[in-house]
């Protein structure tokens, strides 16, 4: 018996870069529906940007770690309060989304507002590089070995 066959593909042109961040973000209180409307024309939810340790703007990733910097202020919404409470220890945006049972894009809006208010800190993820970071891979292998 022979298995079905496929044909290998090769790297194409790089995928389109995410849309540039707007020069100044709208203040907190933006609703995601309104944002999607402005984005318009069927684009996926806007990717929101945070400032990395290097001062560069990077999009909020599923695995950007969020850490609370302050107690929830009296003015915080219930969702903001929940994020600040659960991020007493570092927590990924994906986990925040899971625990709040809110879609990822809604959580990125929530987190971006908290970042703007300096109530949370974001720790940028380790991303794939053209030449992978060997010491990181060795650490991961070591970590997996312990499982």
């Amino acid at each position: 018996m022979t298995p079905p066959h496929r044909r290998r593909r090769h790297p194409g042109p790089p995928p389109p870069v995410p849309p540039s961040p707007p020069p100044s973000r709208a203040p907190a209180g933006d609703d995601p529906a309104g944002r999607a409307e402005r984005e318009g024309e069927g684009r996926q939810p806007e990717r929101l940007f945070v400032i990395s340790g290097d001062g560069e703007r990077v999009p909020l990733d599923l695995v950007t770690l969020i850490v609370a910097r302050a107690e929830p202020p009296a003015s915080a919404t219930p969702e903001q309060t929940a994020v600040l409470r659960m991020c007493g220890a570092p927590l990924s945006v994906a986990e925040v989304s899971a625990y709040l049972r809110l879609p990822f894009s809604v959580v990125t809006v929530l987190v971006t507002d908290l970042l703007a208010a300096q109530l949370v800190q974001a720790r940028a993820p380790i991303v794939r590089q053209q030449i992978p970071d060997r010491s990181l891979l060795e650490a991961v292998m070591h970590g997996l070995q312990r499982l």
């Binding site: 894009s105 380790i126 991303v127 499982l147």
Partner: protein, 206 residues
């Protein structure tokens, strides 16, 4: 959420909290056809109970995943399971199992961008369902290894026949696995890491 049922504040259990020293997270994506064992693999290696994140996708007609110009759009909620492994006090690794409907994988913003690599799980009974995703990973330059999840009633092919059928270059690892077993799932991840490590020596992802 049973373990949290009595809690009024949502969030991780105390024992699932990451140390404050955790500086950064990396991610790996597990892809493959429906029912091939992605969720099982996430669950078998994760140190936390697998969680689910979801996203609302705008969809322009069934089977079309790139054309958003159409006026007839529908919003679909897509769920994705993920798990977590603590690597060091500074680094944590997340594993994402892609949602069942393949056309959503590449719409999920940022799912593949930045991922260290991918595991493509294949089922020898339905090998062809993994062809499209392999091509997409190749196009995007996302390095991957292939895990052949063994099902008792699936045909067994010699790995070299599978390599030929999948048209994979000799350097891409293909390993048999039983993702219900933690050790086996871990070995697949180790294979991916060793493969990525080998790329640091050749200095290229292609």
């Amino acid at each position: 959420m049973d373990s949290n049922a009595s809690d009024t504040i949502p969030g991780p259990r105390t024992e699932d909290r990451l140390p404050h020293t955790t500086e950064a997270a990396a991610k790996i994506v597990i892809v493959g056809g429906f029912g091939v064992g992605k969720t099982t693999m996430v669950g078998s290696v994760s140190e936390i109970r697998p969680l689910t994140t979801e996203e609302t996708m705008t969809q322009a007609g069934v089977g079309v995943d790139d054309d958003f110009g159409s006026a007839s759009k529908t919003a679909t909620t897509v769920a994705m399971d993920f798990g977590r492994i603590r690597i060091t006090d500074q680094v944590v690794l997340y594993l994402f199992g892609t949602p069942g409907q393949e056309r959503f994988w590449f719409l999920w913003n940022g799912l593949f961008e930045g991922a260290l690599g991918a595991v493509v799980l294949v089922d020898t009974r339905r090998l062809e369902v993994s062809f499209e995703v392999m091509g997409r990973l190749e196009e995007r330059g996302v390095p991957f290894v292939v895990g052949v999840n063994t099902f008792p009633d699936g045909p067994r092919y010699p790995l070299e026949d599978l390599r030929a059928a999948l048209d994979l270059p000799p350097e891409i690892p293909i390993v048999e696995c039983d993702v219900r077993r933690r050790a086996s799932s871990r070995d697949v991840l180790m294979t991916l890491m060793r493969f990525l490590h080998s790329l640091t020596l050749t200095g290229s992802l292609t």
